[in-house]
């Protein structure tokens, strides 16, 4: 025995499970780093003194509040009503093209909101494409797309996949015996769905709704293009238009409060019932419900959101691109932004997964008050919109970490803070599937705790690491506000290129960059969804026990 053996374990009571010091140290570092933005916002707001009440009123906050909540409520309700039937049809029924539709119905997730918004404007604005088609029937002018209606449409199309993924995961893992028991007790199919299936899905629906609500709260690009002012766009305007950034900081803090309230609200809806299976043993694969002739109607039903959320937007982009090419429009030199996006997203994914690893291991294997605190601090990023994190990191960069300011490392740091919950969630569910006995076996074969982590634990959680990494990659590709605020001057990514091209109405450029982004981001998403029992569906579902990021 070594002296350190005595020191590290000898002088304490029988609480046998002491985590290795290096694990605690790295998890602590990650947790502290994740807390920087909030701490900085607090400091900044406190230094504003008692003016902050005044500041909030001056910004006409009440009206913005009202508009924001109205949008959140509408988007959440509509998303749930779209996603639950789609989930049931693609998991539990025998609709034709089930597999294709399963993947396609998730893919609107990869469309950045500002891209979706530009295509929606093109299609449905008063003088848009749809009006052109409808003019045959004498329709002269469609109702205005700008404002609440358009913003709701865009956000529903982008966010219903969050509910779809969580509900689908829950449907897959639900013990079919529960529904069979209900049927055996004389409940018809509809009654069974209402009395058993729907209540069992409640936590998944609540979790997915939370993701939708937080996304809606934090979205900037979509609402800005559709000219609907929300809290986030107010902050962005404040940030860009005034030199004094105290107002932006104070408003950001209010945004954090709203996000935390949403988080708490979701916990409240969960109730006290148990939703996991009460028995052990393998889950049988449930039999698909035979819809008979109605299955074609079902497929068409799933096809509607796929059409509006994926095929039409991509079609519009392709149309613009072709039209631009035919008119010899100059395309942005897209190669550099594409390379930048790829590079920075891969770095962000790698950094985030590496940072998540010690936190996840500590939280799952060495449960204690400390490890819970670390995990909770990570989930702060989940409640923080990109604007807020980016702003606080600007303050932080200028005042504390000057060398990092205007470098891509601060940008990657922002992405990591924002998206850590995604990777912690995925790693966590992967870790839960690894029996601690396997790690003990490795230790009894002569490997130290440290080496066990690298030779057994890490290889076994690789699927989770990949799923989490792919999610971070996708989210980073799409992220706009943090990218706009924190990118070093002259460093353009795909999303920033699309944004500037779209703002200046260069349609061909917008289309080319957007198609590239959708392609690059879509591949890992499709892959993860295709893996059937998809870690992604599972990970997002399980991780929303505490939450999954939204941007």
């Amino acid at each position: 025995m070594t002296i350190s053996g005595v020191i590290s374990t000898g002088w304490k009571s029988t609480d046998g499970k002491r985590p290795p010091a290096f694990l605690v140290a790295s998890a602590a570092a990650v947790a502290l780093a994740a807390l920087i933005p909030v701490v900085y916002l607090l400091v900044r707001s406190v230094s504003a003194g008692s003016d902050w009440v005044d500041i909030i009123w001056r910004a006409n906050t009440a009206a913005v509040f009202g508009r924001t909540f109205l949008l959140i409520a509408l988007v959440t309700i509509i998303s749930v009503s779209v996603a639950v039937p789609v989930a049931w049809l693609t998991v539990k029924s025998n609709i034709p093209l089930r597999k294709v539709l399963s993947v396609a119905s998730v893919l609107p997730l990869v469309m950045p909101s500002f891209v979706m918004a530009t295509t929606v404007i093109e299609m449905y604005s008063p003088k848009g494409v749809l009006q052109g088609w409808l003019s045959v029937f004498g329709v002269e002018r469609l109702p205005d797309i700008y404002g609440l209606g358009g913003a709701t449409l865009v956000l529903v199309l982008m966010t219903y996949p969050y509910v779809l993924l969580t509900v689908r995961g829950a449907l897959r893992r639900m013990d079919p015996a529960l529904e069979e028991a209900a049927r055996a007790m004389g409940y018809g199919p509809v009654h069974t769905f209402r009395a058993v299936t729907l209540p069992m899905l409640r936590p998944a629906i609540a979790g997915g709704s939370l993701l939708v609500a937080l996304y809606t709260l934090s979205d900037f690009g979509g609402v800005a293009l559709l000219r609907y002012q929300t809290f986030t766009s107010t902050i962005m305007i404040q940030y860009q238009s005034s030199i004094d950034r105290t107002l932006a900081a104070v408003l950001s803090l209010v945004l954090v409060v709203i996000a935390v309230l949403l988080l708490l609200g979701e916990g409240f809806t969960r109730g006290r019932g148990a939703y996991h299976r009460s028995t052990v043993g393998a889950v049988r694969v449930s039999r698909r419900f035979d819809l008979g002739r109605w299955r074609w109607v079902g497929a068409a039903g799933v096809g509607v959101p796929v059409m509006i959320g994926l095929i039409i937007p991509v079609g519009v982009l392709v149309h613009w691109l072709v039209r631009g090419l035919l008119n010899d429009q100059e395309l942005l030199p897209l190669l550099i932004p594409a390379r930048n996006s790829l590079y920075i997203s891969l770095l962000a994914a790698l950094a985030t997964v590496l940072a998540a690893l010690p936190v996840a291991i500590l939280a799952v294997r060495f449960q204690s008050r400390l490890s819970r605190f670390f995990e909770r601090s990570i989930y702060i990023g989940f409640g923080l919109p990109g604007v807020v994190v980016a702003l606080s990191l600007v303050f932080f960069g200028i005042n504390v970490a000057r060398p990092l300011y205007q470098s891509i490392w601060l940008l990657i740091f922002a992405y990591a803070v924002l998206f850590l919950p995604a990777s912690v969630g995925a790693l966590r569910s992967s870790l839960l599937q690894v029996s601690p006995r396997v790690e003990e076996a490795a230790q009894s074969l002569g490997r130290s705790q440290w080496r066990v982590i690298f030779s057994v634990t890490v290889p076994l959680v690789m699927p989770g690491a990949f799923a989490g990494g792919a999610m971070v990659f996708l989210l980073t590709m799409k992220e706009l506000p943090a990218t706009l605020i924190l990118s070093p001057i002259g460093y353009r990514t795909l999303s920033a290129s699309i944004w500037s091209a779209a703002s200046e109405a260069f349609f061909a450029k917008t289309a080319a960059a957007a198609l590239l982004l959708v392609l690059v981001a879509g591949v890992p998403t499709a892959y993860l969804t295709l893996r059937g029992h998809g870690d992604k569906a599972d990970a997002s579902d399980r991780s929303n026990e505490i939450g999954e990021p939204t941007r």
Binding site: G5, T14, A441, S444, R447
Partner: protein
């Protein structure tokens, strides 16, 4: 049979530490009794889980000699797995001393981590590494050897457990029994000081269990490994062990050879754990016990000094009882309720007038039928064990 690479337990690689030495000197650890060279030695061990009021094991004493096969038999929750995990090093002890291979590895002030104890462990769910092949699983514990020596060792170990030819399979491609064998090969490959088996047969079906039990016993005998088995299955413990340690709640109630423990259980609790039986109340008087089933001669076990008139529990085992059809006027009888024919023997369930059910196992003959009133006696005048109430 000692494998060519196997070392003697005394080769245990625990570096003598000045810190431990100093601590030992200061606190004066009691040395093991002279002549006792246990491979595993627990003295007065107590282990508590955080947040639990009562210790999982307490005043736990066990000495396992080289080459011995010892079972810990107990009900679930008795603390038997805790005892095993204390030996392996996954739990720290709050008092007492744990020695492995003569070295102090656990006490209130010393805790050698599991990876430095050189103990082979077979888990209830095997805990094989799902990301590695069979060969890589077995190789896992051989990391200190040069690569060419490792492969030389894997082959004979896999052959010993009958798993040659499965080297490149993955764990999920094996049956439960095969996984079990690989788990044993993996545990034995690094030549551990002792082999610990935690309910290794509980995940297997009954027939496979018996076959595998014999195989493992044979493997262990061949390698001469010192073995500690934890189980709640008395057949398993009786069939495999040189000695059985029967656990009450959190301590060892009795330890001895299977025969000793079976024939002379020290308590009603041990008797119930070690074999199927009924305990019926009675009164001890003048060398006999009077019960509602009859009057039986008694035997004095280790520590029951019974005095006349004392209330006792009499141990009734199916194989030690005899029945015959009772006469009209005879007292102390029961009624045959069920007869289960098993070929050579029949097992009779006898309902006593108080409602207690006794089982009697006897050769099939002599025409006793369901519904008969029968008289019960001890077979061949064998003496019945009684425990004070």
């Amino acid at each position: 049979m000692r494998m060519p690479w196997q070392r003697k337990p005394s080769d245990l690689k625990i570096p003598p530490s000045s810190a431990a030495g100093a601590a030992a000197a200061a606190i004066a650890i009691p040395a093991p009794a002279a002549g006792e060279t246990g491979v595993i030695h627990l003295q007065g061990v107590e282990c508590r889980y955080p947040g639990s009021d009562s210790p999982a094991i307490s005043d736990f004493n066990l000495l396992i000699r080289p080459g011995e096969f010892v079972s810990i038999l107990g009900r679930s929750g008795a603390g038997k797995t805790t005892a095993l995990r204390v030996v392996a090093g996954f739990e720290q002890v709050s008092s007492g001393y744990v020695r492995v291979g003569g070295q102090l590895v656990g006490s209130s002030f010393v805790h050698i981590p599991p990876d430095q104890r050189r103990i082979g462990l077979v888990f209830q769910d095997y805990a094989l590494f799902p990301h590695l092949t069979v060969a890589k699983n077995v190789e896992f514990g051989l990391k200190d050897l040069p690569a060419d020596e490792r492969s030389v060792r894997i082959a004979p170990v896999l052959e010993m457990v009958g798993m040659s030819g499965y080297e490149s399979r993955y764990v999920h491609e094996l049956s439960g029994g095969q996984q079990q064998r690989v788990a044993i090969a993996r545990a034995l490959a690094p030549d551990p000081v002792a082999l610990l088996l935690d309910e290794p047969f509980s995940n297997l079906d009954r027939q496979l269990r018996a076959a595998l039990r014999r195989d493992i016993k044979e493997i262990v005998r061949k390698t001469g490994a010192t073995t500690l088995l934890v189980t709640h299955d008395r057949e398993e413990a009786l069939a495999t062990s040189d000695r059985i340690a029967v656990m009450g709640q959190n301590y060892i109630e009795q330890i001895g050879t299977p025969e000793e423990v079976y024939q002379n259980p020290v308590s009603a609790d041990v008797a119930k754990l070690i074999g199927p039986c009924e305990l019926i109340p009675g009164v001890f008087r003048g060398g006999v016990v009077m019960t509602e089933a009859g009057v039986f001669p008694t035997r004095v076990t280790a520590d029951n000094s019974n005095s006349d008139g004392q209330q006792v529990l009499a141990l009734m085992r199916a194989s030690e009882l005899e029945i015959e059809v009772a006469g009209e006027d005879e007292q102390r009888t029961g009624t045959v309720e069920l007869r289960e024919f098993e070929g050579e023997f029949s097992e009779y369930s006898i309902r006593l007038d108080s409602g207690t059910l006794l089982r009697v196992r006897r050769r099939a003959a002599n025409g006793i039928k369901v519904g008969n009133r029968v008289k019960i006696s001890s077979r061949d005048e064998s003496k019945v064990i009684v425990f004070p109430v």
